[in-house]
Amino acid sequence: MKNSTLTGWGIFILFIITSCAPKGSDDKASPFSDDVASKVYVAPGQFDEFYAFLSGGFSGQMSVYGLPSGRLLKVIPVFSLDAEKGYGFNEETKPLLQTSYGFIPWDDAHHPELSQTDGVPDGRWIFINGNNTPRVARIDLSTFETVEIIELPNSGGNHSSPFTTENTEYVVAGTRFSVPVPQKDVAVETYKENFKGALSFISCDPVTGHMNVAFQVLLPAFNYDLAHSGKGASHGWTFFTCYNTEEGHTLLEANASQYDKDFIAAINWKKAEEYVKQGKTHDFPTSYYHNVYDDNSHMATSEQIKSVKVLIPDECPGLVYFLPTPKSPHGVDVDPTGEYIVGAGKLSADMSVHSFSKMLKAIEDKAFEKEIAGIPVLNYDAILAGVVKSGGLGPLHTEFDATGNAFTTFFISSEIVKWKVGTWEVLDRAPCYYSVGHLMIPGGDSKKPFGKYMLALNKITKDRYLPTGPELSQSAQLYDISGDKIQLLLDFPTVGEPHYGQGIPASLVKPKSKQFFNLADNAHPHVTKSEDQAKVVRDGNVVRVYMTTIRSHFAPDNIEGIQVGDKVYFHITNLEQDWDVPHGFGVMGATNAELLIMPGQTETLLWEPLFEGVFPFYCTDFCSALHQEMQGYVRVSKKGSTVPLKWWTGSSK
């Protein structure tokens, strides 16, 4: 009896061992072949196939994940301070957060957008918008660091942003809230008369990526929600959704939902360029900041700009057309061919798909319903390509795969619906947990989607994870979309709200990833290129410490002659010239943060000692077996003390 049971177990174990054998030869025979875990399993030491860049929403940052594993690779600080990296705390990055309102330590970041060449993500840069104090940031994908932030004049809530054109000629930035332009003190009731909606076209230098507000188009006081640019045939146009065409300024929940149809504003930006060239722009006085970080000087600088070029549609025929779209359209997404413009009426069940070629014909035939502020409203029936009868509720956003399918999120019915572009036939649907907003297919908003995976970016997780008190994380859910049926593979909590995302094959980014900064190229004004140049310099109450780090000591590591009331700048250069050897710097009583200095880089921490005494400093980033020995002391004497300024490492000077 006992023996036969054991034999039975033996056979069972043998069976398990056999079926767990390495895959490949007889995949279908495995009882685990339907196990989705194998589809997201990336073995230790192996790399993911895709990078996914997800916004952190109101965290103001952007996080980088690997797909399909969902592994978190990095959180890139963009609009919010990050004490871990010293971002916004060290002297070098502070200028990045300068605005016309002063230093702003936070923003609400929604839409990452990869730079494109010929309509395809090229892996050079990724842009992201700041909503609250309207800004656009550019992140360099060789360093994965924020290298530029530009503020937007005449804007209030930069939401329809920063969507790119086919060759990153422009990233756009439409204002969600209309505001008085230029700003002035007026009664809110004068909304219709005094408020305007500005759509900004930010040009990007094709080599450096440097941004410049090339021109703005001043539109009626609607809310401009999302945007996408044309591609292929429709290259040269950008489409913005508008809601609140009722021009309400209070209780929008009800007042902005009166009309059956709002609009998609189609902007002919090539025409705009002609008008700019002809001098049809008005120079509006304003004030906004442009902040650029330089990888050689390792510093950001700020420039204040006081004027912006504005185009008025009434004076520029052919510049703007309104495409009527039911009902409070949210997302506007252009299919890979550039022919179809999908408007997701968030308060309707169906989606209207406009035809770009029909739109051109309607313009030619002057098939207009009316004009608003000199802008022709095209005839709805003349431009409609089809309607997707989805059966879902609250359509928000659409992305595309490489084989002619579209995938649309539905917030209220919490699902993604797959449909066929051209026939508008619904093919499949998959639930989301819960309340999906955007979705992301790698390259899914480009001319050549990479397909394979889809991420649902969810607002609510409720019962999905172990509870963590009143505040719960948001989440991303990964689906396999390579087959006929959508298959849920994985869900993982995210850093902040993953409002929107972008995905790109790792092969387009990984080879360009920088390993360290060449010390010889370091052009920081306070660099210390070798240990024998380390020094401490006093100028009045400003003391500059020119310090170096290498495994595992600081030079100097003993400093005397600092006084209460001094402003001590630690300019620290990391002399290491190897990958993955940053050094950190923390000094007792610092009211800002630590420094985290990459190899070859110089960073500066301001320290203002309040008391007499001797204060330790140390390396915060575990750098070697002698990391715990990497420390030093600063002696602080009373103001006016005769203790001489001295510094040394190893032996007293």
Binding site: F516, L519, K529, S530, E531, D532, T548, I550, R551, S552, H553, A555, L575, E576, Q577, D578, V581, S624, A625, L626, G650
Partner: protein, 158 residues
């Protein structure tokens, strides 16, 4: 002196050098002497001068001292190495003074170019890591040409 003995005795266990896949890490630039990269025969001797180390450089022939090259080497040493090495006294790492009498030129260059590999696989480098309290030698990503110039500088430190 004690260290010297330790290194010598450990040096007896020179492992068979695995030469495949070690080369080509940096651009091969010819200095005044020829640096050969073909595989040299396995060394098995007590004499550390016969240990060529593990790294891209397999054989160096030294000519007469090139002072201009040594001067350039001194400059590079100052920038990239002096945080841990003083020419004539022990600091974080050993002093290079007299190193030409203690180590083969190939070993020195390989230690500069691939310290990570050396402290894992080369018996002398392993012992040095222990003797210097586990302070790892940093890989400063020098080119072979730069390392060769530093070697020329070391020839002047007698």
């Amino acid at each position: 002196m004690k260290n010297q003995f330790k290194i010598m005795s450990t040096g007896a266990i020179v492992i068979a050098m695995l030469l495949n896949g070690c080369g080509g890490s940096s651009e091969q630039k010819q200095a005044s002497e020829e640096i050969k990269t073909e595989a040299s025969s396995t060394v098995n001797s007590n004499d550390p001068m016969n240990n060529k180390g593990i790294g891209p450089v397999k054989s160096i022939t030294l000519g007469t001292l090139d002072q201009a090259m040594a001067d350039e080497g001194q400059k590079i040493f100052q920038e990239k190495c002096s945080a841990c090495h003083k020419p004539e006294e022990k600091f974080i790492g050993p002093a290079p003074k007299g190193i030409m009498d203690r180590r083969s030129p190939e070993w020195i260059i390989n230690m500069i170019l691939s310290p990570d590999k050396m402290v894992k696989e080369d018996p002398i480098a392993k012992q040095l890591l222990m003797d210097y309290n586990l302070a790892p030698m940093a890989n400063q990503n020098l080119t072979e040409e730069q390392a060769r110039k530093i070697l020329e500088y070391f020839r002047t430190l007698k």
